[in-house]
């Protein structure tokens, strides 16, 4: 059952990812993107990472994509655009590279039999943390202890991004 669901969601994710690139209008790309993110969230659920799945839906598929949609509509970019001549030619090597990488990764997975050996030390550690702290606590605990520096630097990063965006975009100079 889980296997079948996984393949369904994986197929939807990959199909929508193609849709993002191939869609004719920006809004179309955007909706395909939402679909990709939602099906990735579904695979997170299958991996029992419920908190991550919820965050994926709320933050990515919800907040960020809606913002994208607003921007596209406000800038009136929703209509179909004429492709430039280079695009179809550039797509062939791009897809070739992505395909080669996907094939390479699949081969490595097959060769090392990751499906069975995935329960490494890291995996067992995550299971133990999930049992002890629950889905949210298992993320919060390391976030505010081992990764506290990362967390704070992320705050600085967001501040810098806001300052930069405002300095470049505010109305009066």
């Amino acid at each position: 059952m889980v296997d079948i669901l996984f393949y369904v969601f994986a197929a939807v994710a990959i199909g929508s990812a193609f849709g993002v690139v191939l869609a004719r209008t920006p809004v179309g790309s955007l909706l395909f993107m939402v679909s990709t993110l939602a099906s990735v969230a579904a695979t997170y659920v299958l991996l029992e990472a419920h908190f991550l799945a919820a965050i994926q839906i709320i933050v990515y598929a919800g907040a960020i994509m809606v913002l994208f949609l607003f921007v596209i509509m406000l800038l009136n970019l929703g209509h179909e655009y004429r492709r430039d001549l280079k695009a179809p030619l550039a797509m062939i090597p791009a897809f070739a590279v992505v395909g080669a990488m996907a094939g390479f990764i699949a081969r490595v997975f097959r060769a090392t039999d990751v499906g069975a050996g995935m329960m490494t030390e890291a995996g067992r550690g995550i299971d133990a943390a999930l049992l002890e702290h629950g889905a949210v606590g298992a993320i919060a605990q390391p976030l505010f202890t081992d990764y506290i520096v990362h967390f704070e630097v992320t705050g600085i990063l967001l501040l810098v991004a806001i300052v930069g965006a405002l300095a470049l975009a505010k109305r009066s100079v």
Binding site: I105, V149, V153, L159, V160, G164, A165, A167, L168, V173
Partner: protein
Amino acid sequence: MELDFSRQLHYVWALLPEIILCVWGMGVLIAGVSGPAHRGEDHAVSEDPAFGTGSGLGWVSLVGLLIAAFFNGWLYTLDEVGRGAVVAVDDFRLFANWIFLGGAALSILISFTYVYRNRLQAGEFFSLILFATAGMMFMAGARDLMLLFLGLEVMSIAVYALTAFNRRDRRGAEAGLKYFLLGAFATGFFLYGIALVYGATGSTNIDTIAAVVSGGRAREGFLTLGIALMTIGFAFKVSAVPFHMWTPDVYEGAPAPVTAFMSVGVKAAAFVAFIRVFLVGFESVSDQWYPVLWWLAAITMVGANLMALSQTNVKRMLAYSSVAHAGYLLVAVAAGNETAAAGMLFYLLVYTVMNVGAFAVVIGVAHQGEERLQIEDYSGFGRKRPELAVFLTIFLLSLAGFPGTGGFMGKIYLLQGAAESNLWYLATILVLTTVASYYYYLRVAWYMWMRETTSEDQHDLVVTPLPMKAALIIAVAVVLYLGIFPSSMMEFARAGVEGLGALGGGLLGVHP
């Protein structure tokens, strides 16, 4: 004091210079918003640009850098226990921090009048420089790939914004957008590389990665692909040749003080992180990445120097020169021994002072703006303003690697490092391309000293305010001092590299 990272408080001590810079940046930001310029007063009034409105924030930022430098010195008294922490407190990081702080301080010194003349928003400008410097310091201190990535992004995003900072300049906007899009693309590669390395080794900690990789427990294919993608990310940041396309346009379009800051700071930070990740983390699989770096270094040196030969815009010429210097420094990464790594630190230091110095004179000649950047604009400069022309000549000779300057000693140390790893072809290419580079550096000097001025008043408006004079004198003093007495600084750099890879197992200086 001993640092024990099981206690969170000790991260505060280990990151004190970075924290001070970030807090100071926020303070400058708030001071900039509440300053007189934002209360609707006319700030085009004529006053000394070195001490007038807005420049106060520049001096405040310099004080912040000074305090951060003080605590960077204080960090030498701390000892870390074990190497499991995400932040390294080793001499390597502290030496790199000196380079970033010095580069930022010199860049701020040369930007006072530029900010004033072009009516840039001083608060945001100086605080973004401080944040970018903090990002560089996070990169140098990161012993964890995620923290390295965050530092890289803090630095990059601040620099993207600074590139497009002059909103009245169309080329600045174009350069900023180009840099941002290509930079985001390269960041994607870098991040995917980190993810694959994590998939291969099960850790993002560089020392753990080193242990897993040298123990042969890493998944081979993932590791190779991860290293390849991370190489692309780094090569973009240091602007090595197939990934250098953005460099000339961005360096030309960005405000000149930002170009100076970017060419020294971003490059130094990327190289320092490059060394730590590749020579510590991936040391035992160096046969996988060493040939790639060999070719990158060779193509970068040859290509950049060839393209620089035909440039007539001085800023663009310095951009290609900066790409060429990335090639020289890649020789050190490819050589991968202790001498080469120490030589790289030494070279980064010299490069920082001489490049900012050269840009200072360029800004002066360009009337503190973006007006006169063609090589013809320098004709007869030596007779009108001999002191500035002498300074620029010294910086250009140092960039070219003329004996008696710091640039020469830096190249000698790089060659020494290459020789210790028997990289004779790379060493030969380095010497030959250096000889070629004399042409485009000395052409500027030739215009300054041998050509007549095109009009009588050509250089009358060249102003060098007090802070810029200070930066020039400091830069010249350091370049000449390091050229004549390099050994003490080289010992210092060598001390910074020693022990860098001590725990990963042997390390530094094993391959061919």
